[in-house]
Structures are given as C-alpha cells and as structure tokens.
Amino acid sequence: MSHCWGMAVDLDRCTGCGACVIACQAENNVPTVGEEAAQKSRTMHWIRIERYYEGEFPNPRVRFRPVLCQQCDNAPCEPVCPTYASYHTSEGLNGQVYNRCIGTRYCANACPYTVRTFNFFNPVWDKPLHLQLNPEVSVRQIGVMEKCTFCIQRIKASEIQAKAENRALREGEPVPACVQSCPPKALVFGDLNDPDSEVSRLARSPRGAKLLSELGTQPKITYLQRDSWDGPNS
C-alpha cells in the first residue's frame, strides 16, 4: 500500500514554544540570515508559529498556530513552476527539486500559506558552525526556493530500514524533526492511507479543520481547533 503522509496539529496542545522551529532548522540545514535580512523578513524557517491576538486588555487572548508547508493535494505552487522544480511526489508530497529551480519565485507567490522561503543570498555558516550541518540534507544555494519537506530524508530512511527488515512501517515511524521535538505532542505525523493511524484518527476529529480550506488546496495537515473550557467534562 502506498503511503500518504499527513500531519495533525492539535492547537489545544500547542504552547507556542518554538521547539519545532529549531528542530527543523537543525535537521534541515536551514540557515540563519542575520539581523539585516531578518529585518527584511527574509528568515528561512520552514515552520513558523503564528501568533494572533484576540481582544484587548484586560481580556486579551492569544492563539498560536504552527504553519508549515501544508503538502496540498491541489497545490497552487506546483503548476506555476515552469521547470517542474516544484512537483508532486508519488507519496503525495509537494516536492521541491533545488537543482531544477531557477528562482522565478512564482511558487512562493502562489502559495496561500506563505511557507516557501527563498535563498536571496548564499547561506553562510561561520566556521566551525558548518560542522553542525546534516549530511543527509543538501545545502541550498543562492537563488533557489525551499520549503518544508516533511523531513523526506527521515521518511526515506525509515522506508529503507523497514524494507531491509522486510516489514511494514510501524506507527510512529517515520517522524519529522518538528514532530519529534514537540513537548506537548501538538504535532502528530503519520500515514493518512492507514485509517487506524493516529493522524487519520485525528484528521477525522470534529475539531479538525484545514487551513484556508475555502481555497480548495486540499492540504494534508489538519488543524484541531483550540477548545474552550466550560466544565470538567468538556
């Protein structure tokens, strides 16, 4: 059975701590850009935690929402790429072939979630910070677009491991870096083709909703809305 990787984000668990952001940065060789570029919002994070206020003092509320590539089935970023740099993998992911990218940045404009980041300059790691780089993820060069891959290298590694051991993938395997790190377990990853997986179960939750579902992009990430408290058995 082929896999269809998906994620569930339980906003009732998410505390906005940012562990996923750094986990992703460490796993995927996402560079830091420095203050000047950060001021121009050219940071490269593949996952961000959106913070929205609601109301005002003395009754303010805040909602956090981790936003990463939604790996849409009908991804607006894919068809606009003239060189097939962004394409659809057989496992339903929105692939990005860095070597094929010529940097039109069209995909980034088309992406309604604004999750694609662009290498405005060559990334720099002051020596010896370059030693932290993950050899299993390519370092992107100037002029190419990049984005969350659902940690494709981890998915592939798990699949190869399972194949070598002549078994099917287990629940909780593979696991992207952000999901691995999330302390309150707000992020859940798994195979949507398996109706018994936890992610499938959560995706069916009545609290579940897709981000910007009105656009018809059919994302593979389900957001489970934050609940409110009205008694012990809510």
């Binding site: 790429c81 060189t83 010529i102 039109t104 309604p112 290498n119 002029g143």
Partner: protein, 434 residues
C-alpha cells in the same frame, strides 16, 4: 497636404543622411545611464538577487512591475498600427512606424525583466523546450511558459511587422548613400527593386500580418495578466484581469506613442508630417482608453468591495486607505482625472494637451502595475505573514536605465532609418481624398 514626393523624401531622409550634432551628447548621456543600469544588474548577478528589495512575502516587486509595464507599452505600436491599417485610416501613415518601433524596443526591454528578476538567471534557458539528455521538458501548466511562447511570438511578429514596410525605405536609403552604409542598406533592403509585383506582395503580406498581429498582441497581455490571475492571491485571482490588462496596455501604449511623437516632431523637425490631426485623433483614442480603464477599475473595485471576502477586502483597504492610498489616488489622478478634461475638451486636445495627458498616463499606468503586484502580495491570506516591500537602489537604477534605454534605442533608430514611412506617405499623396 502641401508636400510633394520630393519634399517628403528630402525631409524624412534628412535625419538619417545628416544627423543632428545635438543628438550626440544626448546619446552619450543616455548610454551612460544605460551602462549604470547594466552595471547594477551585473552587481546583482554577482552578489545575488538579495540586493533587490524583494522579500517574503513580496517576492515580486519593481522588476515584474517593469515587465508588465513595458509589455504594456509594447501594445502601442503594433496593435494600433495594425488596427489603423486594417481600418485604412489615412492619418495612420505618418505614425505607424514610430508606433511599431516602440513595440519592438519595449518588448525587448520588457522581456529582459523576467531574466533580471530570476534567482538564477544563468539557467533561464531551462524555460525553452529543447530536447535534452534527461528528457526534461518545461511545464506547460505554468503561465510563465505561456509568457515565453507568447512574448517570443509577439516579438517575432512585431519585428516582421516593423521590418516589412521598412524594406522599400531601406532600398531608398541604399540609393542615397555610399560606402559601408550602402552595403548595410543593401543588406537590409534584401534586394528590393520595387516591381509592381513586389509592391503587391508587400501590401498583401502587410495585410495578413496586420490581421495576425492583433490576436497575438491581445493574447500577450492576456497571458501577462494570467501570470497573476492563475494564482490564488487576493485580488489577483480574477476573471477581469485579462481584458483589464489588455485595455491598460493599449492605454499606456498610446500614451507612450504620443510622447515619442512629440519628441520626434520637435527634434527631427517633422512638424509637417506629425500634424496636430494625428495628435487629435490619438488623443481621442487615448480618451476612449482612459474611460475604458476607469470602467475596468471601477468594475474591479466595486466587485471586491461588494463581495467583501476577507482576504480581498484586506488588500482593497490596503490600497484604498492603507499605506498605498497615496499611490492609489495619484494613479487615479494620472489615469483619469487629469487626462479626461485634457482629452475631452477639444480646445485642450492640442499637442501640448495630449502630451501632458500622456505623460500622466504613463506614470499612472506604471503605478497601476505596482499597485496590482505589491499590495496583493504583501497581504496574502495569513495576516501573520503579511509584509512590506521597499525597492533598493539596484532596482531603481535598473528601472531608470530601462527608460533611458528606450529613449536611446529610439534615438539611434531614428538616425538609422526614417522614422516615418516614406513610401507610405508618398502613396498617401496619390490616395483619393475620402
């Protein structure tokens, strides 16, 4: 119509045979500015696209604005000239060529911008469908590919449309010069003799080209608009975009043509040829386009406002009352409020009047493109990811250089070939007055 054929020939060949000395410093100055723009581009290539002001989420800025703007300007020529040719308007004769030249040069400049804006411009050839070892072909679903085909078709078509009627005039020049220039014009005239058969074929070919070039021109700006309309970006994803862009393109094209004609008229002493009637007629056309533009603007704005969908309305208010409001109202002023009285009142529709209106329209239409691109991108769906955009000196230099480049190319062109078609004017002399 006091001219004779000899007079026409003498007047119109003069700028080529005996170019004015005054043009030299102007050419040098323009060349210097173009060089500055080129250096800025090289600097950007060397350092990285990051020296431009684009950022997340405004990944397209000045460069794509310029792209749309110049492709729009390119609609001046060919389209107007083709329509006028087909409708056999007599006043077209002195202006067709200066219009067609604008098309070719504006297209060349416009087509440069997608390259300038690329992250890795050295790989731009990957857009072309060519057989290759890995069996990779471009993605025809991408509007950029449509652009690639449309702009190339339009460029080839416009070039032919410009060069065809240039053949007899090159033959004329060939007979009037000696030395290397004779060789050059002999080459350009392709061995033109002027037999009745050649004349006939030329007219037939021009007729067919005029028919062909109109749908191509329309498709080009339609496809440019689809670069935007195909993506789910608030206020981009709209069916009105194609006609809106085409109308805007013709609008700015006519304005550019009027500006060019005013300069040609005074600098090449073509007062006898580019007569006030031409400006009056073009002024009327510009007026129609101005009304049409305003109609489209109103239709677009009203639909958005009435629809009140959240992402669109955010962009709507951003341009209407937000930080882009000044630009918005300058645009409306330049494209409608100022040109309308200048062009509608007959007394004001003079050369000076149409010139003023045209300058306003060119500025206004540049702003229009900027306002289409930047506010929408800066306010996409998720407010957390909203952003801003500010151009850097690199973008400004390159933009300025393209305007200088246009002037420079035009000036050089007018010194190489007669910018008003001699044979067509001559033929017009014999035309029965309708």
């Amino acid at each position: 119509m006091a001219q004779t054929a000899e007079q026409i020939q003498r007047d119109l060949l003069r700028p080529v045979l005996d170019p004015s000395r005054r043009a030299k410093p102007v050419i040098a100055g323009l060349a210097l500015l173009v060089l500055a723009g080129f250096s800025a581009w090289m600097y950007q290539m060397y350092t990285g696209i990051g020296v431009a002001g684009i950022r997340r989420p405004v990944f397209w800025g000045f460069y794509i604005t310029n792209f749309v703007f110049w492709i729009g300007i390119s609609h001046a020529g060919t389209l107007i000239s083709a329509i006028l040719r087909l409708s056999n308007a007599t006043w077209r004769r002195p202006i067709t060529r200066c219009a067609e030249v604008i098309t070719v040069f504006a297209l060349l400049i416009g087509a440069m911008f997608p390259l300038i804006h690329l992250g890795r411009p050295w790989l731009a050839f990957w857009l072309a469908p060519y057989p290759n070892q890995r069996g990779l072909w471009p993605n025809y679903r991408s509007p950029l590919l449509w652009d690639f085909f449309a702009i190339n078709t339009y460029l080839i078509g416009s070039l032919i449309f410009l060069l065809l009627p240039l053949i007899p005039d090159c033959a004329l020049l060939r007979d009037n010069v000696t030395g290397w220039r004779n060789k050059l014009y002999s080459l350009l005239s392709l061995g033109w003799r002027g037999t009745q058969k050649q004349w006939h074929r030329l007219e037939a070919a021009m007729h067919i080209m005029a028919i062909l070039i109109i749908p191509v021109a329309v498709s080009v700006h339609t496809i440019v608009s689809w670069d935007f309309a195909m993506t789910p970006v608030p206020m981009w994803h709209s069916t009105i975009f194609a006609p809106y862009f085409v109308a805007g393109a013709i609008f700015s094209g006519i304005a550019a043509l009027i500006i060019a004609m005013v300069f040609l008229r005074s600098s090449l002493h073509l007062e006898e040829y580019l007569r006030p009637e031409c400006f009056d007629n073009l002024g009327k056309l510009l007026l129609v386009m101005s009304l049409l533009w305003f109609y489209f603007l109103f239709a677009e704005r009203l639909t958005t406002w009435y629809g009140n969908a959240r992402p669109e309305i955010a962009v709507f208010w951003l341009t209407q009352r937000g930080p882009y409001r000044h630009l918005f109202w300058v645009m409306v002023g330049c494209n409608f409020v100022l040109p309308f009285p200048l062009l509608a009142i007959k007394k004001l529709r003079t050369i000076a009047g149409t010139f003023l209106a045209s300058v306003a329209v060119v500025i206004g239409m540049w702003i229009e493109r900027y306002l289409i691109i930047v506010p929408s991108l800066s306010h996409k769906f998720l407010p957390y990811a909203w952003g801003t955009y500010r151009p850097t000196w690199v973008e400004i230099t390159i933009t300025a250089a393209t305007f200088c480049g246009m002037a420079l190319l035009y000036l050089l062109f007018s010194e190489v070939v007669p910018v008003v078609s001699i044979w067509e004017l001559k033929a017009g002399l014999r035309e029965p007055v309708r």
